[in-house]
Amino acid sequence: MAKYILKRLAYMLVVFTIIAALMFFLYNLIPGDPARAEVEALKSTLKPEQYEQMYQEARARLGLDQPMVVRFFKWYFGIWTGHFGFSNYYKANVIDIVKEPMMNTLFINIFSTFLALGCTIPLGIYCAVHQQSKFDQGVQVGTIVGYSIPGYIIALIFIYIFSVTLRWFPVSGSKAPGSSLTGFPALMERLYYICLPLIVMTFSALGGMTRYVRAAMIDALSMDYIRTARAKGLREKVVIYSHAWRNALLPVITLIIGWFLGIFSGSIIIENTFNLNGMGQLYYKGLTNQDYELVLAMQMFYTAVSLVGALLIDLSYGLVDPRVRVNK
């Protein structure tokens, strides 16, 4: 097992390095001159020679006067020593910029993931067990609708219904304007503000996961061992949850672990629509502001999370299914 993990770690390092190189060169080949963008606004206030001097200084400060390969190695080794880059837009270290949005994204996604799984798994199981019932058919229609409508549209519809018309929830933001609450009241206020985004995220997620769980359960319920279990006279609950669900879990586990790994990544659409200062919005802003060191750092973080996630998924297969347990 240890040997397998070490082998996988070595493989991950290679993949990480290749992706880092690809990303770095890709972003640096995009036409654009960050140094010019930095000093252009000062042009009208400077004499030409001063403008040129500032421009050259900006180039040197941003490392643009060095060959791209040198810049790559500096950046790459910087990552391993904790220097994730410098945001040219915010004029601050990337690590300092990412902290707050990351906390916000984690806060939202943890609730969202538990809420979505809490709804979709029981719903999927219930629908599979009561296949072709009116409830099942209704859920099928509902999930297809939820699955088909883009999250952005769902968000706007929900804002109109619950915020503008019913006034149950605020339109956007993560706290009341000017609120100075602290401690538990502040937490409650925050939860109130993220209620609507959570509802939208859950509603958007219902379709895919419910159908996936339902399909896995239907497969499992059609197996011979389920018939055998029922023939043995086991209670239906035991048949469903101990026999069917445990076997249906195998294909679902990949999705569930993927969801948990996804708590680090923000939703560009939800965060933008509800004006939440999260990773999705930061990523989008990084791209639109051509803040490539910020974007690169975020992408490398997600690359690392994905690689670790792939390893965890493989290992977790072994935990749920002894047949594929890795011992080498």
Binding site: G32, D33, R36, E38, Y90, E100, S163, V171, S180, N277
Partner: protein, 635 residues
């Protein structure tokens, strides 16, 4: 008089008295501090309050301008610069034998920061000493030593004293401007300095001194200072402020800034102090900003330019509970030409394109009816325009839409042939017989057997992606029947804005392809600050052109001279001479037409009607107006 009538009379008298008292109350200037305003901005706060030395986004600037006050030179509602009488008690200027100009200023006694510490001349001197110091430069700050005498040497670390800044007393200091930058019409802006709260920006024990050769810091350790500066840059709690408001908090998570009235603020240049107790600055997003407004999550939305948004704002106003304010943009969207190659090098072609576009129709369509058209590089709110409007109206060509005029211009420019060198018969693009120099390497040129070079009226247009202006230009200009029948072909090339800039600047450092003149036409936008300085914009100096000056590549001595003389040839205060040169400049520009102004927006703000005295302009935003605003009590 019956008892009943007496009773009615008494009641009427009481009612009148109440009415008079109520009226008196309504007309009394607000001197109580109450209420709050939630201002929405589509730009998010970064929390960098560092005097725009590092970042300069609009939202941070709004908050900075509320926190930082007592600048020696301020700009008023009409974009005019002057010494702030609340700050500057006396000021004078003198010029030495070398032509360097010194502004000496004595500040009023009794000005205080929000923490109660008195503001002295040292605070103003400290601002310049820190701003121009190598410390800020090392920290990536974008402060240019520019005009202040000796600042370049000081910033480079070659001098410890800043020769051009003198501490002359507790309340008196001076700033000397390098002769190279004089005379300058806007030289008063060089005397603009704000106080720097040393207790926040510098380590303990640092002081400002002057031994006669220029001001300098004492007890300054650069490494310690960098730490203090970095902390001060982002400090949100107990921040030392000198403006009408003080920062109460900044929430990095929700990106909200809360400001409360600064109790020690002495007032702006008119002695005006804020009466709205709390200002909350929040981010809004375009898609839901009106939902936030209608549900009370924000009170003010600024600078609406989209026709649909403005209609929504006016609808809200009509329903009640909200008001709108509108003002003309000091700037415009434009078609820009590069005038040194291809067909756009010929003035007739540039004129023809202007004639082929119905600019009134374009502006109405694009702005949804909330915009206008200008005929030169000016905004309708500028004082120069207001004073020179009559002359401009008489002299400027408005390039009113006319196919005939376009054809006439093209024919006069020599575009009278077809691709075979025969007279143009109305099919395809027009051609002109050009010299080898005029022809350059333009890709569409045709060389006939006899060596004659013909240039077609085919214009390559660089337009940025996801840009509604580009889309409308394609419909209203590039692909119209009129353009086709005039014998003009406009090829649209959609690209990212960055790539557009690379081509516009001919920036070879980004790739060899950009150095080749490729596109004759670009669509962009421009804004004018109160400092209308177009110097070097039309330079012929190849080095400056290579640095990105004169991106129109229009080399006209008269235009260049006017743009330089207008600011560097006029003493400050000589408005008449400036205006005369400005009018000549606009007229020459209008004749050469290096750009076609497309639309100038009529911006709208929408705000809750609980606020009074909401009076804004393109030079005076709702943030500038905040100290004048009052908030009615909530119902």
């Amino acid at each position: 008089m019956s008892r009943k009538m007496k009773l009615v009379a008494a009641l009427l008298a009481v009612m009148m008295l109440v009415g008079v008292l109520a009226g008196c109350k309504a007309n009394t200037p607000a001197n109580t501090v109450s209420g709050q305003q939630i201002t929405g901005s589509t730009t998010e706060l970064s929390g960098d309050w560092g005097n725009a030395w590092w970042t300069n986004n609009a939202a941070d600037n709004d908050v900075r301008s509320l926190m930082n006050g007592y600048g020696t030179v301020v700009v008023n509602q009409t974009g005019e610069y002057f010494f702030d009488p609340t700050v500057v008690a006396e000021h004078s200027d003198s010029t030495d034998a070398d032509g360097n100009k010194t502004f000496t200023m004595k500040i009023n006694k009794g000005l205080k920061y929000n923490d109660g510490k008195e503001i002295t001349a040292k605070d103003y001197v400290a601002y310049m000493l820190l701003a121009y110091s190598p410390i800020i430069k090392d920290m990536g700050g974008k402060v240019t030593p520019s005009q202040v005498y000796g600042a370049a040497a000081y910033q480079a670390g070659e001098a410890t004293e800043l020769a051009g800044v003198r501490l002359l007393g507790d309340l008196e200091f001076s700033v000397t401007i390098n002769a190279d930058f004089l005379p300058y019409f806007y030289d008063i802006t060089y005397a603009g300095v704000s106080p720097l709260p040393m207790q926040m920006w510098l380590p303990e024990g640092v002081d400002v001194k002057d031994d006669g050769n220029g001001a300098y810091f004492t007890g300054l350790d650069a490494d310690k200072a960098k730490e203090t500066v970095e902390k001060a840059r982002y400090l949100s709690e107990k921040r030392v402020c000198s403006g009408p408001y003080q920062l109460e908090s900044f929430d990095q998570s929700s990106l909200q800034a809360v400001l409360t009235v600064n109790p020690n603020y002495a007032g702006n240049f008119e002695g005006q102090k804020a009466s709205i107790a709390k200002v909350i600055y929040v981010k809004v997003i375009t898609e839901t900003e009106f939902d936030q407004l209608s549900t009370g999550q924000v009170d003010v939305l600024q600078t609406l330019s989209d026709g649909e948004e403005i209609d929504k704002a006016l609808d809200l106003e009509a329903k009640g509970g909200f008001k709108t304010a509108n003002y003309l943009r000091a700037g415009y969207g434009k078609l820009m030409f590069q005038c040194d190659f291809g067909p756009t090098q010929f003035i007739g072609v540039r004129h023809a394109i202007a004639y082929l576009l119905d600019r009134n129709d374009f502006a109405t369509t694009f702005t949804g009816g909330y915009g206008s058209v200008v005929h030169g590089p000016y905004g309708l709110a500028m004082w120069m325009y207001e004073k020179g409007e009559e002359e401009l109206n008489a002299k400027l060509n408005t390039y009113t839409y006319s196919l005939d005029s376009a054809i006439k211009e093209l024919e006069e420019a020599g575009f009278t042939l077809n691709e075979k060198g025969e007279p143009y018969a109305g099919e395809g693009p027009r051609y002109k017989k050009v010299t080898a120099e005029e022809a350059g390497d333009y890709a569409h040129n045709v060389t006939l057997d006899d060596g004659t070079i013909l240039m077609p009226c085919i214009i390559e247009w660089s337009s940025s992606e996801n840009n509604p202006v580009s889309e409308l230009l394609a419909v209203k200009l590039a692909n119209t029947e009129a353009t086709k029948s005039a014998g003009v072909v406009i090829n649209q090339h959609v690209m990212t804005f960055t790539e557009l800039l690379n081509y516009m600047y001919r920036d070879s450092s980004q790739g060899d392809q950009y150095a080749v003149p490729t596109y004759g036409m670009y669509n962009l936008a421009t804004n004018f600050s109160p400092v209308y300085d177009m110097s070097y914009s039309w330079t012929s100096d190849p080095e400056l052109v290579a640095q990105g000056y004169n991106t129109n590549f229009l080399f006209d001595d008269k235009l260049d001279k006017l743009s330089m003389d207008m600011v560097y040839g006029v003493e400050s205060g000589d408005n008449d001479t400036y205006l005369k040169l400005w009018l000549e400049y606009i007229e020459r520009w209008n004749e050469l037409l290096p750009e076609v102004p497309l639309y100038s927006n009529d911006y709208h703000d929408v705000y809750a009607d609980k606020f009074d005295h909401y009076d804004v302009s393109s030079y005076w935003s709702s943030i500038d107006q905040l100290p004048y605003m009052t908030a009615k009590a909530e119902k």
